[in-house]
Amino acid sequence: MTKLILLVEDNASDEKLALLAFKKCGVPHEIVVARDGADALDYVFATGKFAGRDPAARPALVLLDLKLPRVSGHEVLRRIRAAPETRVLPVVVLTASVEEEDVLRSYTLGANAYIRKPVDFVEFSNTVKALGAFWLQFNEAAPMVRSA
C-alpha cells in the first residue's frame, strides 16, 4: 500500500533535492509538497485550497522545515498536535537549524524526530532513505483517529 508523505519545504532547490533523494533510494510512496506553513495546515486538515480533499486520507509522515513563510514550522507543529485527529501523526523536523532552542522547542511541541539537513548530498539521500524506511516500514504507526 502506498503511503503519503507530506514534505513542507519552501526552498525549491531543497525540495528538488529531497524528491531526487527519495527517488534515488526508491521510496515507493507518494510525496506531496507544501511550500509554506499555511498550505501545510490546509493540506493536513483539508481546508482552504485543499478543501475538496478527503480529510481521512492523511499523510503517514510529515517532513517539516522550521523556517517557513506565512506560518512557521513550530506553529504548524503546534496546530497538528492540538487537533485530536492529528495528535499522533508522525512529524519529523527536517531543517538546517541546529540551534538548541529550535531543537528543544520542536520536541516540546511534540516532534517525533529532529534531523539536520546535511550539506553533502550523499549524506542527505542516505538520511532521507533511512527516514522513509524507519517511519513507513519499520515503525508501527498509531491507529488512525477518525474525525467525527
Binding site: 532547490s13 533535492l17 531526487l20 538546517a96 537549524s97 550539506v119 553533502d120 548530498f121 550523499v122 542527505f124
Partner: protein, 622 residues
C-alpha cells in the same frame, strides 16, 4: 670694726651751700631714703620713698616703718636687721616691702647707724632700692635654667607666662616662629604675640584662665593665630597648661604653627573637590565627616544636610542593614577595595530616586581615628550603554547566526546538484569535467565547514557561562580519546596529562577549549616522527596557568599575533586542514572566563598554548 657715720662738731659749721647740695641729692635720688629713730619711727621720708611706696611724707612721718611697709611675714627679719645695724653700724638686706596699695615690691636695703660725737645713736639711715624689674628678670632666668632643657627639647614654641601676663620664659622654637629674640620677649606682655585685632580682649581671657586654669587646648574649635615680629600672622594650634611654683602660678603655652597643616588640608580639599567622583568620608560610626561638591550634585543634598548625618541616608532602605554590617566589617579589616569589586550597589538621591553606583573604598588613618573614604561613581549612563551594547551584541549574534544558517541552503543546492551530475552523468563527462565537479564539491564542503565553525564561534559567545569546579585532567583524557578514535590523520602519539588539574570554569566551554587545543596538537604533530603532546599546569603563586604542549610543526613567533584572529591561518589547507576558527573560539572562551591565553612556538619544534580561567585582579577578595 664699727662702720658708724659720726657727725663731728666742725661739720655743723659747714657752710649752708653744702647743706643745700646734700638736700637736692637726697630729693633727686630714685631710691627711697628714710631716716629711722632707734625705735623704728620714721624721721625722714624722701621723695623717692613717696614714689616707691606710695605714702606721702606727711602720712609717713612719725609712723612705725614696720606698720607702713613691712609685710607681716618679714617683720622678724626687719627687726633683726635693725638690731644688727644698732650693733654693727650697717647692714644689707634683700627683701620684699609693701606699697600703700598693698602690692609687693622687691627691694635692696642698705642700713647705716648715724651717731653723734659722743657715740650716741642719732638715727638709722635706710636706703631702699626698687629692684622689682631686676627681680623679675632674675626669676625668669632662674626658671629658664630650670626648664631650659625641657623647653628646648619640645618640638613646638613654648611660652611661659607669669600671673601678670608677662613672658617669663621662651624656647628657641619661639624665637624661630615669632622672629623675636629671647631678650625682646622676656618681661613683655604675652599680647605682643597676639594679632592686634585680638589684643584688647586677650587679657580678659588670660585672667579668666589664670583664675580657673586647667590644661586644655586654647580657644576650643576656634581658629587661632599668632603674630610674628614683622606683623605677619600664622594659623596656630595652642595648648595651655597651668603650673604652680614657689614663685606663684605660671601658664605654659605650647604653640604650633599650623600653616603647613592648613596648606596640606587645603590641598587635600582641592584634591577632593577636583575628583571626578563623589567623595564621601565617614567615621567608624558611619557618620559623614567630609563630602565634595560632586557628592552634593550627585545626591541632591547640600553639604550641611550631609555632614554629621549617617551615611545610610545615601543608600536605599532595602540595602541599609546590609550596609551597616558591611561597614562594621570593613572597619574591622580595612583594606583598599578597587572600583568594580563591590557589585550591585545602589545610591538614593534626596528626592528618593535610586541609581546604580560603583564604589571604591580606602581606609584613612587620621588623628581623629580610622575614617573610610569612598569614591562613588554614578553608573546609570554606563549601565544604559552596557544594556544597549548587550542588546546590539545579541542582535549581531542573531544576525550572524541567521546569515550562517541561510548560507547553508544554497550550499546544499550546489553540493547536491554537483553530486547528482557527477553520479548521473558520469559516462558523458570526460575526466577534466569530472575533476571540476569534484572541485565544486570540495569547495562547497569547505564552505560548509567554515559556516559550521562560524556558528560554533558565535555559540561560544552566546551561551550562558556556568562556572563550576571541573577536572581538566579527565576532560583532556576524554578529548584525546575521541581525537585518537577519529579519522584525523595522525601517527602514534605519546600523550601525557598531569593529574588533578582543577579549574573553576564552564565545563562545556572548557571542553571546547581542550578539544580545539588538543585537536590542533594532534593535527600539527601528524608529521612528527615521535609525536609528544602534554597537558599540564604551572603555578606562579596566586594563579594557575594551564598549558597544552606539542612537538609538532610549531609556528613562527613573528606571526604570533595572528594566531587567535578568526580565519587567520599560519599554514595552507593542503599542509594542515582547518578553518582558522578554532583558536579564535578558544580565545573567546578564555576571555569570557576573565582569563588570558598566549602561545610560544618555533617552526619545526612545536608549540605551547598557555591559558588561565581567571584574571588576576589585586585587591579583590575571594
Amino acid at each position: 670694726m664699727k662702720q658708724d657715720t659720726v657727725l663731728t662738731a666742725h661739720d655743723r659749721g659747714a657752710d649752708a651751700a653744702e647743706q643745700s647740695i646734700a638736700e637736692v641729692l637726697v630729693e633727686q635720688s630714685s631710691d627711697a631714703l628714710i631716716a629711722l629713730s632707734p625705735e623704728g619711727t620714721v624721721l625722714f621720708w624722701s621723695s623717692g620713698a613717696e614714689r616707691i611706696f606710695g605714702y606721702s611724707r606727711r602720712v609717713a612721718l612719725g609712723r612705725s616703718l614696720d606698720d607702713l611697709i613691712v609685710p607681716t611675714d618679714r617683720r622678724a627679719e626687719a627687726r633683726a636687721a635693725l638690731a644688727d645695724v644698732v650693733h654693727a653700724g650697717a647692714t644689707l638686706l634683700e627683701t620684699v616691702r609693701l606699697r600703700e596699695d598693698g602690692s609687693r615690691v622687691d627691694v635692696d636695703i642698705a642700713m647705716r647707724a648715724i651717731r653723734d660725737a659722743d657715740g650716741g645713736l642719732r638715727f638709722v639711715a635706710v636706703d631702699h632700692t626698687d629692684v622689682s624689674a631686676l627681680a623679675r628678670l632674675r626669676a625668669a632666668r632662674a626658671a629658664e635654667t630650670r626648664f631650659r632643657g625641657l623647653l628646648e627639647a619640645a618640638p613646638v614654641a613654648m611660652v611661659i607666662v607669669g600671673d601678670r601676663g608677662r613672658i617669663v620664659l621662651v624656647n628657641g622654637q619661639t624665637e624661630a616662629l615669632f622672629g623675636y629674640t629671647r631678650d625682646e620677649l622676656l618681661g613683655q606682655p604675652v599680647e605682643v604675640l597676639v594679632p592686634e585685632r585680638f589684643r584688647v580682649e586677650h587679657p580678659t581671657h588670660r585672667k579668666g584662665y589664670f583664675h580657673d586654669a586647667v590644661a586644655r587646648p586654647m580657644g576650643r574649635g576656634g581658629e587661632l593665630f599668632g603674630r610674628r615680629k614683622n606683623g605677619s600672622e600664622f594659623p596656630a594650634d595652642i595648648n595651655l597648661s597651668p603650673m604652680d611654683s614657689e614663685d606663684g602660678r605660671v601658664v605654659i603655652a605650647a604653640i604650633r604653627d599650623m600653616s603647613e597643616r592648613k596648606k596640606a588640608e587645603e590641598k587635600f580639599r582641592a584634591l577632593l573637590e577636583s575628583a571626578p567622583d563623589a567623595m564621601v568620608i565617614v567615621d567608624a560610626r558611619g557618620r559623614i565627616v567630609l563630602v565634595n561638591a560632586q557628592t552634593e550634585s550627585m545626591f541632591g543634598y547640600t553639604r550641611q544636610e550631609l555632614l554629621g548625618r549617617s551615611v545610610e541616608m545615601l543608600i536605599p532602605d532595602r540595602f541599609s542593614s546590609h550596609s551597616t554590617s558591611d561597614r562594621s566589617g570593613y572597619f574591622s579589616r580595612p583594606v583598599v577595595r578597587a572600583m568594580g569589586t563591590l557589585l550591585d550597589l545602589w545610591g538614593v538621591k534626596k528626592d528618593g530616586t535610586e541609581f546604580p553606583i560603583e564604589m571604591s573604598m580606602a581606609p584613612l588613618d587620621t588623628q581623629d581615628g580610622l575614617l573610610v573614604s569612598s569614591a562613588i561613581r554614578d553608573i546609570t549612563e554606563r549601565r544604559a550603554i552596557e544594556t544597549a551594547l548587550k542588546a546590539a551584541n545579541h542582535e549581531l549574534e542573531a544576525f550572524s547566526y541567521s546569515v550562517a544558517h541561510d548560507l547553508r541552503a544554497p550550499l546544499r543546492g550546489m553540493n547536491g546538484f554537483a553530486q547528482l551530475l557527477l553520479e548521473g552523468y558520469h559516462d558523458q563527462l570526460d575526466a577534466e569535467a569530472q575533476d571540476w565537479l569534484v572541485e565544486i564539491l570540495s569547495n562547497a564542503r569547505r564552505m560548509g565547514a567554515l559556516i559550521d565553525a562560524l556558528l560554533a564561534l558565535s555559540r561560544v559567545t552566546r551561551v550562558e557561562l556556568k562556572r563550576e569546579w571541573i577536572d581538566l585532567s579527565s576532560i583532556a583524557r576524554a578529548s584525546a580519546a575521541q581525537i585518537a578514535a577519529s579519522d584525523l590523520p595522525h601517527a602514534a602519539v605519546e600523550f601525557t596529562v598531569a593529574e588533578g588539574l582543577c579549574a573553576d570554569a564552564d565545563p562545556h566551554l572548557a571542553r571546547t577549549v581542550i578539544d580545539n587545543l588538543l585537536g590542533n596538537a594532534w593535527k600539527f604533530t601528524s608529521r612528527a616522527p615521535h609525536a609528544r603532546i602534554e597537558v599540564g599546569a604551572t603555578d606562579n603563586g596566586e594563579q594557575r596557568t594551564f598549558f597544552v604542549r606539542d612537538n609538532g610543526a610549531g609556528f613562527d613567533m613573528s606571526f604570533v599575533d595572528k594566531l587567535f584572529v578568526p580565519f587567520q591561518r599560519l599554514h595552507t589547507v593542503t599542509e594542515f586542514p582547518g578553518t582558522g576558527i578554532g583558536l579564535a573560539s578558544v580565545q573567546r572562551i578564555v576571555h569570557r572566563h576573565g582569563g588570558r591565553i598566549w602561545a610560544e612556538g618555533r617552526i619545526g619544534e612545536g608549540a605551547t598554548f598557555y591559558f588561565t580561567f581567571h584574571g588576576s585582579s589585586p585587591g579583590v577578595e575571594p
